[in-house]
């Protein structure tokens, strides 16, 4: 039986509020991240008792795992996934190291417009029609989920985006063939 001293968990309220909203706490949220880092077991036990699954990813972020999603969140996640995959392809086409560029480069409105132009028919399916739509519907939401941070000129993706890269790699393993057979 884990003994949890609530007095130790000084950031519990802030952490709960962020995590329950789907936010990913990564190293840039210094206070919360350090707090979680120090008391990870207590927090994990506490959240487990509340019916949540607090996950620590070794690439430097904490989040509540969930295997179901509200339809609205599902749609947002889909748009984010598409954007991340398209960014990878875009950087690779530019001859850049995609993984490095993904986390190093700023994504400004101009780039967003280019992405939309290049992949219009894909974004159309998600009702994203312009660069500013992309900014509003994807990047501002990613900001709210802790997947990116805002800078003067645009957005920079953060470590939690690895969840999408994992998802990308996952397509290979099982769903890929199954989906193709289904088609």
């Amino acid at each position: 039986m884990t003994q949890i001293n609530l007095n130790d968990l000084s950031q519990l309220q802030a952490i709960n509020k962020k995590l329950a909203g789907g936010y990913h706490i990564s190293e840039q949220d210094t206070t919360l991240w350090q707090e979680l880092d120090q008391h990870i077991e207590a927090y994990q036990a506490l959240f487990a008792a509340l019916g949540h699954d607090l996950q620590h990813d070794a690439r430097g972020f904490y989040y509540l795992a969930s295997d179901e999603s509200t339809p609205n969140m599902g749609k947002i996640s889909r748009a984010i996934a598409l954007t991340v995959f398209i960014l990878i392809e875009y950087y690779a086409n530019q001859g850049k190291d995609p993984l490095r560029a993904l986390f190093d480069e700023q994504i400004d409105l101009e780039l967003m417009q280019t992405l939309i132009q290049l992949n219009k028919h894909l974004f159309d399916q998600l009702e994203i029609f312009s660069g500013s739509d992309l900014r509003k519907d994807v990047f501002l939401r990613m900001l709210r989920l802790g997947l990116c941070k805002e800078t003067e000129r645009g957005f920079i993706l953060l470590a939690p985006v690895y969840r999408y890269i994992d998802a990308l790699m996952e397509v290979n393993e099982d769903n890929f063939e199954a989906l193709e057979e289904e088609v």
């Binding site: 894909l122 989920l145 890269i165």
Partner: protein, 422 residues
């Protein structure tokens, strides 16, 4: 013959210029103008006369030498080698170089043991010395290659994100495939190097025991012992150096592999998305987020207020079925019932002539289309037999003039008589 000290002094004085030349042109050629420019660059307050003199000094001391049959210059190879050693600007050698040297070592080992067996001490010493030299050379090559790989790794890692991934890592992959892998194979515990070295070691040990037994040439014994130690040491150095190099290169290679994997995967998945649609492809794989706010809360205060307001105004409306009175009364068309028409037509007996004539006589009030409707019904009635006339007739029907091949009834025996009349 140029005195060494003089050359060293010049090198010392002009080291910054030479370093620049070496870095800028590597092993390629350059013109005398380039040299003068560099000297001027490093010593901006020198007069052009002095610059000219210093350039000539470099030329005279053969630190830079003219290319054959050309006015271009190059750095003296000996100086270039020295500089590359000092600057650690080393280029990766080939695995072959080391292999050749080791094979040579093996050959020399055989010669050495042969000389020892024959008791030829001067030969023994000579081969021992050559072998010693070879071993030093191999160790130098190992160290040289190690620092070359370090350079490669640093270059690959340093930020050239505008350079293409493939080009950036090309050197790394080449180094791995052409040097590290063959070399690791060679120095493997069961590899050819090990066999070769243990053979040499055995040969030298044999010579040492022989010398001990014969009690001659204590000096040679010491030399052979040293050589044996050096060879064993060399093997160890080689293994360590290669291990270190592989450790440095491996993460980069992994990174490259991972990157190409991701790129390929992204292209593949996007291709599938294009074919199958975004929702269908991504729904099963996308990460899910906890969104308690959306699941358990209705929304913010303003959403609540709006919701309550619409609740307050809500009125239950019953669905009203229409009354019986509301149904408009059925208005039958002006056409008389067909059964009646049929009856009156059958009973009309001899009076009936052409069908249309009968109809217009019996129902003069009917419109032309209503009349035609009845006409059509009568001629398609299976109980009445009708015949169609061959000639076209035109007749007046109500207010309309029509042209047709009229049908006439031919039912009973009386009608046959009628037909004959017609």
């Amino acid at each position: 013959m140029i005195p060494a000290k003089k050359v060293l002094n010049t090198l010392n004085e002009h080291w910054s210029v030479l370093e620049l030349l070496f870095k800028r042109f590597k092993m390629s050629d350059f013109s005398i103008k380039d040299v003068q420019n560099f000297i001027k660059l490093k010593n901006p307050n020198w007069s052009s006369e002095r610059v000219y003199k210093e350039t000539n000094r470099l030329l005279n001391q053969e630190i830079i030498i003219p290319l054959a049959k050309s006015s271009q210059l190059e750095i003296n190879r000996a100086v270039a080698d020295f500089a590359s050693f000092l600057l650690q600007e080393e280029h990766l050698g080939l695995a072959e170089e080391i292999t050749v040297l080791v094979k040579d070592l093996q050959r020399l080992g055989e010669r050495l043991s042969q000389a020892g067996n024959e008791g030829d001490h001067s030969e023994l010493r000579r081969f021992s010395r050559i072998m010693d030299e070879r071993v030093r050379k191999i160790v130098k090559l190992f160290q040289h290659n190690e620092s070359a790989i370090l350079n490669l790794v640093e270059q690959a890692k340093s930020d050239h994100s505008n350079l293409s991934l493939k080009r950036r890592y090309q050197a790394v992959i080449e180094a791995f495939d052409e040097y590290i892998e063959p070399m690791l194979e060679m120095v493997d515990i069961h590899g050819p190097f090990q066999a070769c070295f243990s053979q040499i070691e055995l040969q030298i040990s044999e010579q040492i025991t022989q010398i001990e037994q014969l009690g001659r040439g204590a000096h040679d014994k010491r030399m052979l012992e040293q050589l044996r130690t050096r060879i064993l040491d060399m093997h160890l150095i080689g293994r360590e150096s290669l291990g270190k190099s592989a450790d440095m290169l491996m993460p980069l290679r992994e990174e490259l592999r991972r990157n190409t994997l991701i790129t390929r995967q992204a292209a593949k998945v996007l291709g599938l998305i294009r074919k199958n649609g975004v929702d269908r492809m991504l729904s099963p794989v996308q990460p899910d987020f906890v969104s308690d706010i959306q699941r358990f809360n209705l929304g913010q205060k303003r959403h609540m207020v709006a919701y309550m307001a619409s609740l307050a105004e809500f009125e239950h409306e019953e669905y009203q079925l229409p009354d019986h009175d509301d149904v408009p009364a059925y208005q039958s068309p002006n056409i008389p019932d067909y059964q009646d028409v049929r009856k009156s037509f059958s009973s009309s007996g001899k009076k009936r002539t052409a069908l249309l004539g009968f109809l217009s006589d019996s129902y003069p009030k009917l419109e032309a289309d209503e009349m035609l409707f009845l006409y059509q019904k009568l001629i398609s009635d299976p109980d009445l037999s009708v015949t169609q006339s061959d000639s076209q007739e035109s007749m007046q029907l109500a207010n309309t003039k029509i042209k047709l091949y009229p049908f006439s009834a031919s039912e009973h025996t009386e009608s046959d008589a009628e037909k004959a009349k017609q």
